[in-house]
Every structure is written in C-alpha cells, then in structure tokens.
C-alpha cells in the first residue's frame, strides 16, 4: 500500500491522548491490587542471553523460603524459562506473548490475567521476567514497584548508552557473568561509567549467577525493598 501525499482537503480532528493511556490505567490498577496484598513487584528486563533466568533462579534459591516469592515469565514462545524457574519451588506462571500477537514485551493487561493464577495472599514478592528486549518493555508500565535491568559482560560495554530509555527507567542494574572477565576484553569500568552517565544514582550489582559472586549485595537490596513494602502495608 502506497501513501501518496494528498492535497485533497482534509478535516483535522483533535485527539490529544497518550497512546498508552489504556496500559497506564491498567498498570495503576495492578499496582493498587499488589499494594493491597503487600506484594513487592519487580520487573526484570534484559537483552536475550544476559543470564536473566539463571540470575532469577539463583535469586529464588537464596530468597526462599524466607521470602515467599512467585514468578511470571514472559516469552514469545516456549516454556523453557518457566521450567527452569519452577525447579526452585516458587509458583511460576508462564505467559507466551504469541497469544497476544507475539509481542516483544509484557503489557499491564497480561500481568493482570497472569496474576489471577497466583495466590497473592501467600507471597511477598512477585518477580516478572519480561521478554528479552531492551527497547519496548521500557515503555510499558505493568504496575511494578521497581525495574531491574540485567546485562552481561559478554555484551557490548555501550548497551546503556544505546538503550538510554531502558537504563533511565530502571531502579537497579545487574552486571552478570563477571566470572568470565579474565577471558574477555570487556572493559567493566567503562560499562559501569556508561550506566552512571545515563542514570547516575542507579545501584549496579556486579555478579556471577553461576559462581554466586556478588549475589549477597543484590539479595540484600531486594530483601530491603520487599520488607519496606510489607511495612508500608501493615
């Protein structure tokens, strides 16, 4: 279909609406629902292959059973990630976005539906593993309390400046696979400097999900967030 520059008279109709207004309303509704239950929600985002699922698997192993957690996993297709996370004993709800048009992100209405399959009274932490993508998920509020971006030292150091919107909207960054640093030319200081350049106040957790290095600081941060939400509720 070709678009031809038309000189025919047209009538302009004012609309002036936020394109994502519907999603934003639904996200607020989710946020209220989670707040009532005292559930802290994190939205975990990354590019594909950063080790997000392994990071979450190791995170759950360290949190549970002290912190009662559940997971919503978004993927375009397959249940591989959900299967890996279910091993930890946490309730896992898989969302395949191909049912929603193969979307590259999770939207608020998808989370609303998925949350119906979770006993919110029985948990304190809901982890949402978003679809691996550093672009679109940044634009979709799902009703989360905090956003975390995972990147790994096998990617380019300049990811933060290539995807500034993602790094601006996140509350913490995890730099994963640091056990591989001796084998790579990756300039970790440069990567952290790029993160700080885009989001100066953001905490950066340098970890290896595989070896467990650096996990304590990340777990400490997350536990602090969960308990402050519980306190806010009571």
């Amino acid at each position: 279909m070709k678009t031809v520059e038309s000189k025919r008279p047209t009538r302009e109709i004012k609309v002036v609406r936020r394109v994502l207004a519907v999603n934003e309303r639904m996200a607020e509704q989710n946020r209220r629902r989670f707040a009532e239950k005292g559930v802290f929600v994190i939205n975990v985002m990354s590019s594909p292959g950063s080790g997000k699922t392994t990071t979450l698997q190791k995170t759950l192993e360290r949190l549970m059973p002290g912190v009662k957690a559940a997971v919503i996993v978004g993927d375009v297709a397959t249940t591989h990630d959900a299967d890996r996370l279910a091993v930890t004993g946490a309730p896992v709800v898989q969302v395949n976005t191909d049912a929603f048009g193969g979307d590259c992100h999770l939207a608020a209405h998808v989370i609303e539906k998925a949350a119906d399959d979770i006993d919110l009274d029985a948990i304190e932490l809901l982890i949402v593993e978003n679809v691996g993508n550093l672009v679109c998920p940044a634009e979709f509020d799902i009703g989360e309390d905090a956003r975390v971006v995972v990147l790994s030292v096998t990617e380019g150091e300049d990811k933060p400046v290539k995807y500034p919107t993602m790094f601006r909207t996140c509350d913490a960054a995890i730099l994963n696979k640091i056990d591989l640093l001796p084998h790579l030319d990756y300039d970790k200081d440069q990567a952290v400097a790029y993160i700080r350049q885009v989001n100066p106040a953001m905490p950066v957790f340098e970890i290896s999900a595989r070896t467990g290095a650096g996990m304590d600081a990340w777990i400490g941060w997350l536990k602090g967030k969960v308990s402050s939400k519980l306190k806010a509720q009571s």
Binding site: M1, T3, S6, R8, P9, T10, R11, E12, I13, K14, V15, V16, R17, R18, V19, L20, A21, V22, N23, G101, G102, D103, C104, H105, A107, V135, C136, P137, A138, E139, F140, P160, V161, P164, T165, M166, R168, R196, Q197, V198, N199, P200, A201
Partner: protein, 121 residues
C-alpha cells in the same frame, strides 16, 4: 506492535460517526526522543496492522520532541542530545526530564467528501 495497535484503536474511536466511510489520510503523533519508539519501526508495524481497518493507508506524521532536562540542584535547563544525564552546569545527576518521553496522538486528518471517492456506500 502493541503501540501501533493502540494508535489504531484510539484513532478509530476518534472518527466521527458520520465520517466512517471516509479515508483517514494522516495520523499526527508526537513522540519524544527518549521514548522507546523508533519511528521507522512504528511505521512498519502500523502498515501491517492497519490493513483491513479504517486506518488502512493512513500516513503517520511523527513530530519528534527533544529531550529537555532541568537540574534539580541549580535549575539549569538544556536539551539532551547525547546519552549523558548529568547537569552541564554543576555536574549533578539529579535531573528532571521535562520533555522527551511523549507518546501522544495529537490529531487525525480525514479526507473531505467529494474527492476521488469510489466508495460503494
């Protein structure tokens, strides 16, 4: 893709009932440079998902708005053109983003009757 669908939904709902047979020529959008939307990708998605809708064939006119920041420490204001989010004047990292995150549908333009219409209605 989700964004293109939302644009179609909002634009369709904005067409006055008496103009449903008319052609939507153009959708005017305001998109901030700090939004996660890449105009060319959005156009590509829009062309695909607008087929068989009242928006089929409509052009997306995208006005990109600059990223304007204000420093919370020294009140300096400037346009951010590179991914550096520290104050140019005092180097503080406490910024307020005044614009650049927009993702708004401003208006739609509908062809007036009496053009080269070959509508069966």
């Amino acid at each position: 893709m989700g964004i293109a669908l939302q644009i179609i939904e909002i634009a369709t709902a904005s067409i006055p009932p008496d103009m449903r047979a008319a052609r939507v020529e153009r959708v005017n959008l305001k998109i901030g440079k700090l939004s996660a939307v890449v105009p060319d990708s959005l156009r590509f998605c829009f062309d695909i998902v607008s087929k068989d809708t009242l928006l089929a064939g409509a052009a997306l006119a995208i006005e990109e708005t600059p990223v304007v920041a204000r420093c919370k420490e020294c009140d300096a204001r400037w346009s951010i053109t590179e991914p550096v989010f520290t104050c140019k004047a005092c180097n503080s990292g406490a910024l307020e983003i005044l614009s650049g995150r927009e993702l708004d549908i401003v208006s739609i333009e509908i062809a007036e009757e009496g053009g080269h219409e070959n509508s069966g209605e």
